[in-house]
């Protein structure tokens, strides 16, 4: 047996915990069964699904994160990092072992659900969706806990990760509860909503598991090049593109939309990574050292993911620039996202430089808050004040419109240079 799985079972599946969890679950389901005229039916089916969400999804995610956080607090994580366990055994040992009690409760819920419904293919898809959602959520919780290891266990989970997780959970709940009754159209093909949603959630869960694997690699000092991020951006781009274009559309439109969606995803990923991963002021010196020694693979391995995402965005932006722009205008209600890549890239470069500068200056625990305040000032408060004061041209300088590409670039380029100089100074101050 996987030693990490075994250890988690020893620690997490204690008799008192199992007894109390099964007692609570049994009481809830028995109550619903009693008020449903002592029969299994729609009420018990809904109750079973709700209990699955509470016990397996929510409690399981809590157990997964808490188990690893406990490792950090009780200072046993270094012992694990020094063990011979590879990232995969370590990951699945934690991912399945820590929430084992929650999965056991989930098994009971599934049993009650199957007793309450007429078993059809839809039931199978629903169960797949629930299991994938639970696994994905547990992986997400583990990612949060692993990020704590980088930030120091005294810190809390990154606020941005909590926000992203909350939004993802809302979207997930919406896709499960508010299922479209008609078919889902993707790349011009119609798919039944339940299998489509189930497959989508399973794919997302697989990406989350893979993401936690890569983070585990980082913790265990297993060297990897950041191709997985490109894969995830490509997956999101394909997902988005499929909802707006059809396979019968022109190849230029399909590829252009794919590039444009990928570009937006890469930019969003850059911002998210800049928030989520603890900034390392030592990084420029380390990367410079590798570059001086021509260790390019090392540069790729240790580059922060926000920088890697920005490089991907730059590549896709160049592709979009080469492609023209008119031919890849997004159709339908997506057209409001039309805009040139140049200004968006400059916005991102400016913001990410400022983020790094803040990371060099601010105390460790205040970095994320300061970054969020900067964003609020730069994109909302200062332009709004300028508008209200009637200084519309100043507002345009503060937040240029991306539609007017050349003007926006001309305004943003000096801002990027100033941000770069300020960041360099902040970094030098930190390193002194």
């Amino acid at each position: 047996m996987n030693p990490e799985f075994q250890r988690n079972l020893w620690l997490e599946c204690t008799q008192p915990r199992l007894v109390s969890a099964f007692a609570a679950l049994g009481a809830l389901l028995a109550l619903v069964w009693l008020v449903s005229a002592r029969s299994f039916g729609p009420s018990t089916a809904i109750a079973a699904l709700a209990c699955f969400a509470i016990f397996t999804l929510a409690w399981g995610a809590h157990l997964t994160a808490e188990s690893h956080i406990q490792e950090l607090r009780s200072r046993t994580w270094d012992q694990q990092r020094m063990s011979a366990l590879g990232p995969w055994p370590m990951l699945w040992g934690k991912l399945l072992g820590a929430p084992a009690a929650a999965w056991a409760c989930g098994g009971v819920c599934v049993l009650v659900y199957l007793l309450s419904i007429e078993v059809t293919a839809d039931a199978g898809w629903t169960l797949l969706m629930l299991a994938a959602a639970a696994l994905g959520l547990h992986a997400f919780a583990l990612i949060g806990a692993l990020l704590l290891a980088q930030r120091g266990h005294q810190a809390g989970a990154p606020m941005s990760l909590r926000i992203a997780g909350g939004l993802a959970a809302l979207l997930l709940a919406r896709s499960i509860i508010d299922r479209p009754s008609s078919s889902v159209r993707w790349f011009g093909q119609d798919y039944p909503p339940l299998p489509f949603t189930a497959c989508l959630i399973a794919a997302l869960a697989a990406w989350l598991v893979f993401g936690s694997y890569r983070l585990m690699c980082e913790e265990l000092k297993v060297r990897t090049v950041p191709w997985a991020l490109a894969g995830f951006i490509g997956f999101l781009a394909a997902l988005g593109t499929g909802s707006v274009v059809s396979l019968t559309d022109s190849p230029t439109l399909i590829s252009g939309t794919l590039a444009k969606t990928g570009f937006v995803c890469a930019l969003l990923a850059a911002y998210l990574c800049a928030f989520v991963f603890a900034p390392d002021p030592m990084l420029p010196r380390r990367l410079l050292g590798y570059a001086q020694r021509a260790q390019w693979r090392r540069v790729a391995e240790e580059s922060p993911l926000w920088l890697v995402s920005l490089v991907y965005a730059l590549g896709l932006g160049l592709l979009l620039g080469l492609d023209g722009g008119q031919s890849i205008a997004l159709p339908g209600h997506w057209s409001r996202f039309n805009g040139d890549a140049g200004p968006l890239l400059l916005f991102a470069a400016r913001d990410l430089l400022v983020f790094f500068g803040i990371a060099c200056r601010a105390p460790r625990r205040g970095v994320e808050g300061s970054q969020l305040i900067y964003l609020a000032l730069a994109y909302w408060l200062l332009p709004a004040i300028a508008h209200l004061a009637g200084a519309h041209s100043l507002a345009g300088l503060l937040r240029p419109q991306t539609g007017e590409s050349l003007t926006a670039c001309a305004v943003l380029l000096p801002q990027v240079i100033v941000a770069g100089l300020w960041t360099r100074r902040a970094w030098a101050g930190r390193m002194a």
Partner: protein
């Protein structure tokens, strides 16, 4: 066993290690000493592949730790300065997990018992780790670190917080591990106790190695010896000075101290010569090294860092 070359490590604003180069021989116990913030823990964590240095090379038993940290872990056992144990697991479960996680698949129970016995934990196997005393926890943590039979054991402040009896027992344990073929690197602030077990002393200060010297007489080419006389012997000084390998002779009462170059056979021959010449020898033994003084002198001495 350990080869470190031009190792540098930085934290923002702090140069934790500066161009550290050292070579540590197998089956030795090296005491890593230095003031707080000298870089001891950073050096140990880099050695274990837990920190990524800015520059330099580290090899443990021929494996490049920076390039292949996971492979090097098979050969290294590490006990951090602030270590933890799984408080809710029994001692046996803690050891079973450590063994399995380090790749031991067969004979798990036997290995657990063997390790527990060698560390005096055999009668505590069913006790919860959280209920052990500080000294026993230390033993459990060391047992977890050595259960896979690493060639190198790195211990960061293992004696911190231990009572004198537990410290003495720890010293005996370290000597036992060395005798079983292990190489040990031990950081400590308690210099007086290093003499009990250390064969070498590595002094680090400000991220640089200030001194690296053998402590055990059998490892030194030149040893400080002390000859004790039972009575006055006016010719003893002259006779001793005329012997091969004797230098820096000084007398204090009935004690003659000198530096001696030669192996133990030469030392026995010297003693025989003195006795046959009628010198009233009551004892000949290595001169006690005051590590505390040696350490303080080294730190006070300005100059270039040690080159190894």
């Amino acid at each position: 066993m350990i080869r470190i070359q031009h190792l540098s490590h930085e934290y923002p604003g702090v140069r934790a290690l500066q161009d550290v180069s050292v070579r540590i021989e197998p089956q030795s116990i090296t005491a890593l000493v230095g003031p707080n913030g000298a870089g001891k823990t950073t050096l140990m964590r880099c050695l274990c592949g837990l920190e990524r240095p800015l520059a330099g090379e580290i090899e443990v038993d021929g494996i490049n730790v920076i390039e292949e940290p996971r492979r090097s872990h098979e050969r290294i056992g590490y006990l951090a300065d602030f270590f933890g144990v799984y408080e809710n697991l029994s001692v046996a479960q803690c050891l079973e997990y450590a063994a399995a996680a380090n790749g031991i698949r067969s004979g798990l129970a036997a290995r657990v018992l063997e390790t527990a016995t060698s560390l005096g934990l055999a009668d505590r196997l069913q006790q919860a780790a959280g209920t052990l005393s500080r000294g026993l926890r230390q033993r459990l943590a060391i047992a977890q670190a050595i259960i896979h039979g690493p060639q190198l054991l790195v211990l960061d402040e293992p004696a911190a917080g231990l009572d004198p009896e537990a410290r003495h027992s720890l010293a005996a344990l370290l000597r036992h591990l060395q005798a079983s073929g292990m190489t040990l690197l031990v950081s400590s602030h308690i210099l007086a106790e290093l003499e009990e077990y250390a064969t070498h002393m590595l002094i680090i200060d400000g991220g640089r190695i200030r001194d690296f010297r053998p402590l055990a007489p059998q490892l030194q080419s030149t040893r400080s010896l002390q000859l004790e006389l039972a009575a006055d012997a006016p010719d003893a000084m002259r006779l001793l000075a005329a012997q091969t390998g004797v230098a820096q002779l000084r007398q204090q009462g009935h004690a003659l101290s000198f530096e001696f170059t030669g192996d133990f056979a030469a030392q026995a021959a010297l003693l025989k010569t003195l006795v046959l010449a009628g010198v009233p020898v009551s004892a000949l033994h290595p001169e006690r090294v005051d590590l505390q003084q040696l350490y303080l002198d080294t730190l006070k001495t300005p100059g270039s860092p040690h080159e190894s």
